[in-house]
C-alpha cells in the first residue's frame, strides 16, 4: 500500500467545462508512470466513454497532458478548474463491469456539478455520512421515501453505527422541497423543554436559550404550539425526523420523580408531539438504537395501546448491514477517495479482512491504514495484520452490539444463548458460518416459546444473515471482532 504519487505529470485528462458557470469546471487526471499503465488507461477510457455516450453528457473532453500545471493551455476555461488526480494503475485488473461500477458515479457526479466525487476514509468517521460519504443505501432510501409519500410514519431501528442517522438525513434531503422537513436530535436536546425550545427556536427564529426560558415553564405547550405554527406556516406537509427518542425518556429520569409521575410525563410529552402532527397530517420518522416501545414497556409498563396518535401507528423498519452489489468496488472507491494505492497483495488482504457492510468500523480501520501508510510511505499486508489486531483490541465501534446483548435482549436472561450462537458462528470461517439447525437447537435452549422471537431479534440486531441453511456474519470485521471476544488467553507454561 502506498499513497498516490501526485508528483507524476504525464496523464490523460478528462475535462468537463461548466459552461453555465454555476459550478466549478473539473479535470480528472489519470496519471501515467510507464508501460504497465497502458492497459488500465485504455480500459478506463472505454468505460468513461461508454457512460458519457449512454447518458448523452456534453462538455466532456479527453486530452493528453504533459504537465497538469499547464492545464489551461489545453483549454483556457480550465484555468481555475478543480483538478482530481488518480493513477491509471489504480484501475488495473478490473473488468468492464467493475470499471463501470467505479467510474460511472464519478462521471455522473461531475455532470451534475456535485461538489464531491468519491467518498474518503475518515470523511464520515465520527458523524453521520452525508453526500458522497453516504454509501449505497439507495434502495432503503427509495423504500422510506415511498412509505412517507404513502402517508406512513416510521420507526427505524438498528444498533449504533449501522447508519440510521445517515439514512435519515439522506431521506430528509430527498424529501426536501416536496415536504417541509425538520430534524430533532434528542441526544442533543434530551429533555422535553430542550426539545420544545429547539422547535420554537426553528419556528420563531429566536435564539435557543431565549426559547428555552419560555419552554421551561410549559414544555408541552410550547412543543404543541411550535409544531402547530410550523405546519400552519407551510403549504407542504411536515415530516419530523426524530433521532434517539429514548434519550428524552432517559432525560426525564433526572427529575427524580416517581415511576407514575415519569409515566405521565412521557405520555403527555408524546401526546404534545402527536396531537399537532396528527392534526396537520404530518409524518414522523423516529430512529434509534433502542426500540423505544420495548423500552417504555419494560421501564414504565406503557403498552402499545396507550401510545398516542401516530406514535401507535409507526411502521417498524430494520436498518440492516449494507449488502453491496460490488463490495470490491465500494472498497476501491473508498481507497480512491483517500489517495491510497493498493498493490494486488494489499487488495487481496483487504478483501479477506474488511468490507463495508458496517461502514463505520470499516472506515475507522481503514483510517488507521491510511495513517500508517502516510507515515511509513509504503506498507505491506504484514503491517495490516498488526493494525487489525490493535484495532480489534481497542475499537469501540462494536460496543453497541455488546451492549444490546448484555442489556437489551427482549427475553431477560437469554443474552448468553444469543452469545453462544454468535460464538458458534464466529468460530467458523467467515464464508461458512454455523448450521441453521445447530443455531435453532441452541436457541431452543432459551425455551420453545421464545426461540423464534430470539432468532428474529438476532437477525434484527446483529450483522448476520441466513443463507443456504447456514447462519453467516455479513461483516468480516465483526466476525473477527467477535472471534477476538471469545478467544482464550494462551498460557505459556514454559
Amino acid at each position: 500500500m502506498r499513497m498516490r504519487d501526485e508528483q507524476l505529470k504525464t496523464c490523460k485528462a478528462l475535462t468537463w467545462v461548466d459552461e453555465s458557470g454555476k459550478s466549478k469546471s473539473r479535470v480528472l487526471l489519470f496519471l501515467v508512470r510507464g508501460a504497465e499503465d497502458i492497459a488500465p488507461l485504455e480500459a478506463l477510457q472505454v468505460a468513461c466513454r461508454a457512460r458519457i455516450e449512454k447518458c448523452a453528457f456534453s462538455a466532456f473532453e479527453w486530452h493528453a497532458v504533459a504537465d497538469p500545471g499547464q492545464i489551461s493551455s489545453v483549454d483556457r476555461r480550465l484555468f481555475s478548474a478543480e483538478i482530481i488526480r488518480f493513477e491509471a494503475c489504480e484501475f488495473q485488473n478490473l473488468n468492464g463491469e467493475q470499471l463501470a461500477s467505479l467510474l460511472d458515479p464519478i462521471i455522473d457526479h461531475i455532470a451534475a456539478g456535485d461538489p464531491e466525487l468519491v467518498p474518503r476514509v475518515g470523511g464520515a468517521v465520527g458523524g453521520p455520512a452525508e453526500g458522497i460519504q453516504f454509501l449505497n443505501r439507495l434502495s432503503d432510501v427509495a423504500e422510506l421515501v415511498a412509505s412517507i409519500r404513502a402517508d406512513e410514519s416510521i420507526f427505524l431501528q438498528a444498533p449504533r453505527r449501522m447508519g440510521k442517522t445517515s439514512l435519515m438525513r439522506r431521506v430528509q434531503k430527498e424529501l426536501d422541497g416536496e415536504f417541509t422537513t425538520l430534524a430533532l436530535n434528542l441526544e442533543r436536546d434530551p429533555t422535553p423543554a430542550e426539545c420544545a425550545a429547539r422547535l420554537r427556536s426553528i419556528q420563531t427564529g429566536e435564539g435557543f436559550h431565549k426559547a428555552l426560558r419560555a419552554a421551561k415553564t410549559d414544555p408541552n405547550g410550547v412543543l404543541t404550539d411550535s409544531i402547530n405554527a410550523l405546519c400552519a406556516g407551510s403549504e407542504k406537509p411536515l415530516v419530523l425526523f426524530v433521532d434517539e427518542l429514548v434519550a428524552v425518556f432517559e432525560g426525564m429520569k433526572v427529575d427524580d420523580a416517581g415511576e407514575q409521575a415519569r409515566r405521565d410525563q412521557v405520555l403527555s410529552f408524546l401526546s404534545a408531539l402527536a396531537a399537532p402532527l396528527d392534526k396537520h397530517s404530518a409524518r414522523v420518522v423516529v430512529a434509534g438504537s433502542v426500540n423505544w416501545q420495548a423500552y417504555l414497556e419494560s421501564e414504565l409498563q406503557i403498552t402499545h395501546d396507550e401510545l398516542p396518535g401516530l406514535f401507535s401507528r409507526l411502521q417498524e423498519k430494520i436498518v440492516r448491514p449494507l449488502d453491496l452489489e460490488h463490495p470490491e468496488c465500494e472498497l476501491r472507491r473508498l481507497l480512491l477517495g483517500s489517495g491510497l494505492v493498493a498493490e494486488p497483495a494489499d487488495m487481496r488482504w483487504l478483501l479477506e479482512h474488511v468490507d463495508l457492510a458496517l461502514p463505520f468500523p470499516a472506515a475507522k480501520f481503514l483510517d488507521s491504514v491510511l495513517g500508517e501508510t502516510k507515515q511509513r510511505g509504503v506498507t505491506d499486508p504484514s503491517v495490516f495484520d498488526g493494525l487489525l489486531s490493535d484495532f480489534l483490541k481497542t475499537t469501540e465501534a462494536f460496543a453497541d452490539f455488546d451492549d444490546h446483548l448484555r442489556t437489551k435482549c427482549p427475553i431477560p436472561g437469554t443474552g448468553d444463548t444469543v452469545a453462544e450462537v454468535l460464538g458458534r458462528t464466529a468460530s467458523q470461517p467467515f464464508g461458512d458460518g454455523a448450521s441453521q439447525d445447530e443455531v435453532k437447537t441452541i436457541l431452543l435452549g432459551a425455551g420453545a416459546n421464545d426461540s423464534d422471537r430470539l432468532e428474529s431479534w438476532l437477525f434484527d440486531t446483529f450483522p448476520v444473515k441466513a443463507e443456504g441453511g447456514r447462519i453467516r456474519f455479513v461483516s468480516r470485521l465483526f466476525h473477527q471482532w467477535w472471534r477476538s471476544q471469545i478467544a482464550e488467553v494462551k498460557v505459556d507454561n514454559e
Binding site: 510507464g34 497502458i38 504533459a66
Partner: protein, 282 residues
C-alpha cells in the same frame, strides 16, 4: 513551382481503396460527394487509431522520458540548474486522420498503377509517426545531453546498465529504441540535407504486446520555432494543394540554417561563460 494535386489524389485513394462495408467500415454513401467520402474515411480512421491503444503507449513513453529529462539538472553545474528548461509538446500526439490520409496519398504511386504503399488495412503498423511528441530544450548542448541520457541504456552492456539511474532503466525495460540511437537531423551535411527540419529523432518500440511505435523528436526552441513557421507557411498550404513559390522555399530553408548558426553561437557563449565560472572568473 510546386503544385501537387493531393486533394484529388486523396479522394481517388478513398474511392478505389477504402474497404467500404467491410468489417466496421461504413457503407459507400449513395452520392459520390468528395467531402462526404473524406468524412467517412476520416471518421473510420479516427476510431481505428483510438482502438490501437497507441496514444496510451505514447503517454507511457512520455512518462518514462519525462522522468529521465527531469534528472538533467543534476548533470549540470549548480549555477546552471535553474536555467535548465524543457517543454513537452503533446499537442499533436496522434497524427490526425487528415494527415494520415495525406501521407497515404502522397506515398501512393497511382500513376504507375500500383497499390497504395500504406493502405487502410495496415496503416497503424506501417506508419512510424502515427504517435509522436516533441521535447523542446534551450541549448543545442542540452539536446545532446538529453539524447545522450536517452540513448545510454541502449548503448551500454547489461552490467553497465545496472549502474544507470532507475529511470533510465525503466525506460529501457518498457521500450526498445530503433537502431539504439536517435537519428541526427541536426548534424547533416548540405549534400544530403533535403529539408530545413532539424532535430534528433528516435523511434521507440513498446517491448510488450504488439510492439507499438512512437516517434520522439528532441530539438531546441529555435529549431521548433522554425518548424512551426514552416508548417504554416509551407506544409499546410502544400497539403491543401496550394503552390509554393520556389524563392519562398529557398528563403524558408535558409532561415533554418540561420537559426542553426544562432543556436551554435548561443552554445559557444554558454561554454565561454561556463569556462570562466569554473576558473573563478566571477
Amino acid at each position: 513551382m510546386d503544385s501537387p494535386k493531393i486533394a484529388t489524389k486523396i479522394v481517388q485513394l478513398i474511392r478505389q481503396h477504402f474497404p467500404w462495408g467491410q468489417g466496421d467500415c461504413p457503407a459507400r454513401p449513395a452520392v459520390d460527394d468528395p467531402t462526404a467520402l473524406e468524412k467517412c474515411a476520416t471518421g473510420w480512421i479516427k476510431n481505428r487509431v483510438i482502438r490501437t491503444g497507441l496514444e496510451s503507449a505514447a503517454l507511457a513513453l512520455h512518462a518514462r522520458i519525462q522522468a529521465v529529462v527531469e534528472e538533467m539538472p543534476d548533470q549540470l553545474p549548480p549555477t546552471e540548474r535553474s536555467r535548465f528548461f524543457y517543454r513537452s509538446d503533446l499537442t499533436h500526439l496522434m497524427k490526425s486522420p487528415e494527415s494520415i490520409l495525406d501521407k497515404m496519398a502522397r506515398e501512393w504511386e497511382a500513376d504507375k498503377g500500383k497499390a497504395p504503399k500504406v493502405g487502410f488495412d495496415d496503416f497503424p503498423e506501417s506508419m512510424d509517426d502515427l504517435a509522436r511528441f516533441r521535447i523542446v530544450l534551450n541549448f543545442l548542448s542540452d539536446v545532446e545531453m538529453v539524447c545522450g541520457k536517452l540513448e545510454e541504456p541502449y548503448r551500454v552492456s547489461p552490467e553497465e546498465r545496472l549502474r544507470l539511474t532507475p529511470k533510465q532503466q525503466a525506460l529501457h525495460s518498457d521500450f526498445r529504441l530503433s537502431d539504439n540511437c536517435l537519428e541526427d537531423l541536426i548534424m547533416l551535411g548540405p549534400e544530403i540535407r533535403s529539408s530545413g527540419e532539424r532535430c534528433r529523432k528516435g523511434l521507440f518500440i513498446l517491448r510488450r504486446d504488439s510492439g507499438m511505435r512512437v516517434e520522439v523528436q528532441v530539438q531546441t526552441m529555435l529549431q521548433e520555432a522554425w518548424d512551426k513557421k514552416d508548417h504554416f507557411l509551407v506544409y499546410e498550404p502544400r497539403r491543401r494543394g496550394e503552390a509554393i513559390e520556389t524563392c519562398h522555399s529557398i528563403e524558408i530553408y535558409a532561415m533554418s540554417e540561420l537559426l542553426y548558426v544562432a543556436d551554435l553561437t548561443f552554445d559557444r557563449l554558454l561554454e565561454i561563460i561556463r569556462q570562466r565560472r569554473s576558473e573563478g572568473g566571477d
